[in-house]
């Protein structure tokens, strides 16, 4: 991959390869993540991602607590998207005990998951622009909109981010009075924000120059790296678990899957912008169709599933989030394995960064959309 612009190589300068440890306390590494860079002048010749600074023993911990006790811990995986983490875990545990989920609970789950997608993409786009050098302003506009949705979550579940809202066989509590109207109002106003944001950034020459043809991942490479989520779709692969698995009630909604053409950072940014619009479409349909009824079946809080294995997966905002559970007939899982999307997506980092400038490495990392809570677990 050719590095753009003029620079002196180490041979011309008579210098050595420079090794830089970027992070773990670097503001652009999105948490405690370290990149050991080998630089030829300003060009990255090698990169080694080093993580584990936020390791919290998530998987082993779950083996000592009942299934329901694991639910609040899943909020802390990808701490920006508590709702989708809850859903993924609930989905795989529900496969163990085979319960019917009431219709209303299904709709509530879809609404919460799509709101989470809005939150996550808002933040991602904000931080991506932040990494590009537009410090603060666009990010704060995104945070401002995210805050409204977090307020909705607070009213619904009691917490802004660590929601702990879903349960096996439904959700914890019903929607409070007026919640749906408030949600409809916020969702209705969201496209205006997206329009404004696109005006701010989409055609901006600096954004285009900095992100187009940077960190290109072809269709073949993306599938070989097991990339999932918006990053895979930006590379031109039409793969969305909402369409493939149709888990929950996603077969009832009419929405499109945005696909990128080039697989560069700009495509990843734009795919997310378009995905937010599709999420709004789903939200509008779900709010219009949500039925009255129970939100939870009569399931026991502690259960002993028969010895078996399950894998439940959903399309989290970052990609395929899966939980692999092995039950051994006791109340606790025998094995609890998380397939975190941002960890798997991070494997392509080295490949994408080599040949680019240090400043581009920051953007490429930003476009992957990692959350260290999920990478390290």
């Amino acid at each position: 991959m050719p590095a753009r612009g003029y620079h002196l190589s180490k041979d011309e300068l008579g210098a050595d390869i420079l090794e830089v440890a970027m992070g773990p306390h670097h503001p652009s590494t999105h948490g405690v993540f370290r990149m050991d860079l080998k630089l030829d002048g300003e060009t990255v010749v090698d990169l080694k991602p080093i993580f584990g600074y936020l390791h919290r023993n998530h998987e082993k911990l779950a083996e000592d607590i009942p299934y329901l006790g694991c639910m609040p811990f899943t909020d802390r995986l990808d701490y920006l998207c508590g709702m989708t983490n809850n859903w993924a875990f609930a989905l795989s545990a529900e496969q163990l005990i085979e319960i019917e989920i009431p219709e209303r609970a299904q709709y509530i789950r879809v609404i919460c998951a799509e709101l989470t997608r809005l939150i996550n993409h808002c933040l991602l786009v904000g931080f991506f622009i932040n990494d590009l050098g537009a410090l603060g302003t666009p990010l704060l506009y995104a945070l401002r909109e995210r805050e409204k949705i977090l307020d909705l979550f607070e009213t619904l579940s009691g917490a802004r981010m660590m929601v702990n809202y879903m349960r096996f066989g439904g959700v914890r509590c019903d929607l409070p009075d007026g919640w749906l109207q408030e949600c409809e109002r916020i969702v209705g106003r969201f496209p205006a924000f997206l329009d404004e944001y696109e005006t701010l950034l989409k055609d901006n020459e600096i954004v285009i120059t900095r992100s187009q043809n940077v960190g290109v991942l072809t269709q073949e490479e993306a599938t070989n790296f097991s990339i999932t989520g918006p990053m895979l779709r930006a590379s031109g692969v039409n793969y969305d678990i909402r369409k493939v698995d149709k888990y929950g009630i996603y077969d009832r909604f009419d929405f499109k899957v945005p696909i990128g053409a080039h697989g560069d950072c700009y495509d990843r940014f734009m795919v997310r912008m378009l995905e937010m619009r599709e999420s709004i479409k789903i939200l509008k349909q779900a709010i219009a169709d949500i039925p009255e009824g129970p939100i939870m079946g009569n399931e026991p809080r502690v259960f002993k599933p028969d010895p078996q294995e399950t894998y439940g997966r959903i399309e989290s905002p970052k990609g395929e989030l899966g939980f692999y559970l092995i039950a051994d007939g006791t109340t606790n899982p025998y094995r609890y394995k998380v397939r975190p999307p941002s960890f798997v997506n991070l494997t392509a980092l080295r490949h994408m960064c080599i040949g680019h400038k240090v400043a581009d490495a920051v953007i490429i990392l930003g476009s992957i959309d990692i959350v260290l809570g999920e990478v390290d677990r």
Partner: protein
Amino acid sequence: MSLIAKGILQGMAVTAKNFIQSYYKKERLPTVEYPEEKSTVNQFTRNIPFLVYDGEDEIEGMRCTACKLCEKACPPQCIYIIKDTDENDKPIKRPKVFDIDSSVCMSCQLCVEVCPFESIRMDSEFELSNENRFEGLLINRDELLKSNEYYHEIHPIEAQETDDRIAAKIAEAETKKKAREEKARLAAEAKQAAAAMKAAEEAAAETETSATEQAQQSEAKAEAPEDNPETKNT
């Protein structure tokens, strides 16, 4: 590409719009100057558990019975309970020690969900910072106990639902008690009736037997004079 281009100018127009509107539109500037100005706390917010007591007296009105269900349900195990005892070392349904380590608590609300006595509830107090790193963050029973009025103040809807539920429970218990009493009364009556009936039957049987006996006797008596007419005369 020129440096100042259409896209950048468009973006700057958006920024300018936001800047100007932030002076008169609340939506464009939703922040508050925190320590001086405080935004209202959402009534559904949960942060750290507390114990509800009814009435005036903290100890008497305590709803907690030290059943330790919350201690078992707590995923990070931040609750520690010791049951109280009276002077004869007999356990009382009340905690002597009820500690919550607020540095461990992750506000998951699972303790609230398992509590069968509607005792442990979530507080929305968020200013918990403390100078003492160890003892200061460990909240003991007396600090955890808060009145039902306080609960109504922070979570009006939820507290009302809880009160209704407790009232329903009491009413149900009373109707059950009444039903039980009624049943017991009916059973007693039935028993009495049965006993009376049995007695009557027995009495009837007795009278029957006695009648037969009498009849036999009378027969015997009737026979007797024939057999031994002399004895009667004697």
